[in-house]
């Protein structure tokens, strides 16, 4: 029985990690073509990301878009989540549901919606378009994580603070903020990572003017592949692992994933 279990776990791990392993091996190839097992060993495809101005510009645009849209999403989500938690306003609850909706819809629908909006008001291909679009698309994540954070604030703590004479602002700063901030950070981090990896909304909002990394990779795929893509896949995976480790370290991962109350 134990043998069966371990065999299944081993196969599952190979299935999950195998493709990533092959890509990692390919990315260290010394030759221009893709080969596995790799021929020779070199870091040239990693250097290429930073040396080739095309790839480097894409990397910078993607990072810029991810950082600003994640910030914007958190700023939009904060007042909504706070109002739902603080007073349970029906209006705030409605806003909350509307804010979660774009994330549930198939992304191509939101992409098309943004394309229609920006083309009908004549804002074509500006970088701000994709920043707003990503913030709206990913708004659900900070909404949910910040709400989880606020729900974990013990109401007794608030009463204790108030009885000891703290005013509203002091309570917010000294009780609510320290407990909820790691969850807001988690929402920010989720947005950052998903924005960095997002393709279709970026394509339909700025695809012809700004080449984000996923767009550039897709375009490169159509003209035959290059090992640079493999090295970018590895870099992206490492960024993802790093960001989620931060969440696990400084926030409450199992709570965010819904495994505990």
């Amino acid at each position: 029985m134990k043998l069966l279990r371990n065999a299944y776990l081993a196969i599952f791990a190979i299935y999950l990690i195998g493709p990533i392993f092959v890509i990692t091996a390919v990315s260290f190839n010394a030759k221009k073509f893709l080969a596995f097992p790799p021929r020779g060993f070199s870091f040239r495809w990693y250097a290429e990301i930073f040396v080739d101005s095309g790839w480097f510009n894409s990397l910078i645009s993607s990072l810029l878009i991810a950082l600003t849209s994640a910030t914007l999403a958190v700023l939009i989500a904060l007042p909504i989540a706070y109002a739902v938690w603080k007073s349970g306003l029906r209006y705030a609850k409605a806003l909350f549901s509307l804010g979660v909706a774009p994330f549930i819809l198939p992304p191509v629908i939101m992409a098309l919606a943004f394309l229609l909006l920006f083309s009908s008001i004549g804002m074509n291909g500006l970088m701000i378009n994709v920043i707003i679009a990503h913030a709206m698309f990913l708004l659900a994540l900070p909404l949910v994580t910040i709400s989880l954070g606020l729900e974990s604030v013990d109401r007794a703590l608030l009463e204790a603070a108030q009885t000891m004479g703290a005013d509203g602002k002091t309570v917010f700063r000294t009780v609510i903020l320290p407990i909820a901030a790691p969850f807001a950070f988690a929402g920010f981090a989720f947005c950052f990572v998903l924005s960095l990896n997002e393709y279709i909304i970026a394509l339909m909002t700025v695809g012809f003017t700004v080449e984000t990394l996923p767009i550039k990779i897709f375009n490169a795929l159509r003209y035959g592949y290059t090992p640079v893509i493999a090295s970018i896949a590895v870099v992206f995976l490492l960024i993802n692992v790093f960001v989620f480790s931060l969440i696990a370290r400084f926030s409450n991962l199992s709570r965010i994933l819904g495994a505990m109350d």
Binding site: L98, L203, L237, N240, A259
Partner: protein, 279 residues
């Protein structure tokens, strides 16, 4: 709650309301309006009321595409849950450290761009760097061969895309499951595998149903995998919408297809929830 007390609350909600109004509700309404817009001879369109785009959908070519999309997404949902369920069950019983490390990796893979997943599987299915190569090396086949584009390649990559989601969707229910049920069954002499099928699966039935719906809708949104690993006959509705919007500049028809996609995912969610809710 008195009015003068909640007024400041409403004021703090104004910026967020404006953002959601302008950048979600208006664009969403534009899709509905564009789907019935009137096409002008110059290839542009004016808002109006014309069902021509929906009539165009009602040809066998597009209906077949919609059925194909629904079928392949249902298959992916079933396969990915089948693969993920036993693992998630075991994951919940790992020690804290192993659990956290696995969850971090699964989240990292889940967030990896669909473009990169498609690329990885393109490499795996290629002639020079893929599974064919390994088979040649081991001696199972004489000469390495390319396995994509094919329906099998699309399915394999889509399942790979869906499995991390399946794990995270099942994870909450499985970690909260009442372990005493399993102990009781074991004490009464049920085998480990018997317990799994008679207790673990039935107890988590509603989580399985809702996860399958979520994965179905999620897979409907896949755009790159069918294009990169499939032939045009493997394209799903999402790919056709992108194709119409970006390469044919036919926004009204793309919008009509988007409305069809909305109705398709909405009705599947509703049907499965109703059917799955019955005991």
């Amino acid at each position: 709650m008195t009015n003068n007390k909640s007024l400041p609350q409403y004021l703090t909600l104004i910026p967020s309301s404006v953002m959601i109004g302008i950048f979600f509700m208006i664009p969403f309404a534009l899709i509905l309006a564009a789907s019935v817009a009137v096409q002008t001879p110059e290839g542009d369109f004016n808002y109006g009321f014309d069902l021509a785009h929906f009539e165009r959908f009602l040809t066998w070519f597009y209906i077949e595409r919609a059925l194909f999309s629904a079928g392949i997404c249902a298959l992916i949902a079933a396969l990915s849950l089948l693969i993920a369920f036993p693992f998630t069950y075991m994951l919940t019983r790992f020690n804290e450290r192993a659990k956290t490390l696995w969850l971090i990796y699964i989240l990292a893979q889940l967030s990896l761009s669909e473009v990169l997943i498609a690329f990885s599987w393109q490499v795996l299915f290629s002639r020079t760097a893929g599974i064919g190569n390994i088979l040649e090396f081991v001696g199972i086949v004489e000469k390495s061969f390319a396995m994509a584009p094919s329906a099998g390649a699309v399915i394999a990559a889509l399942v790979y895309l869906a499995v991390p989601f399946a794990i995270l969707l099942l994870y909450p229910a499985l970690s909260r499951m009442d372990r005493s049920l399993i102990e009781a069954a074991r004490t009464l002499g049920t085998s480990t595998i018997g317990t799994f099928f008679k207790i673990v699966i039935p107890v988590n039935r509603s989580a399985l149903v809702s996860s399958s719906v979520t994965i179905f809708v999620l897979t409907l949104g896949a755009i790159i995998v069918p294009q990169v690993l499939g032939k045009p006959e493997h394209w799903t509705l999402s790919v056709l919408i992108t194709d119409q919007a970006i390469f044919n500049f036919n926004l009204p028809f793309a919008s009509a297809l988007a409305v069809v996609l909305l109705i398709l995912s909405g009705s599947v969610v509703a049907a499965v929830m109703k059917f799955g809710g019955e005991k």
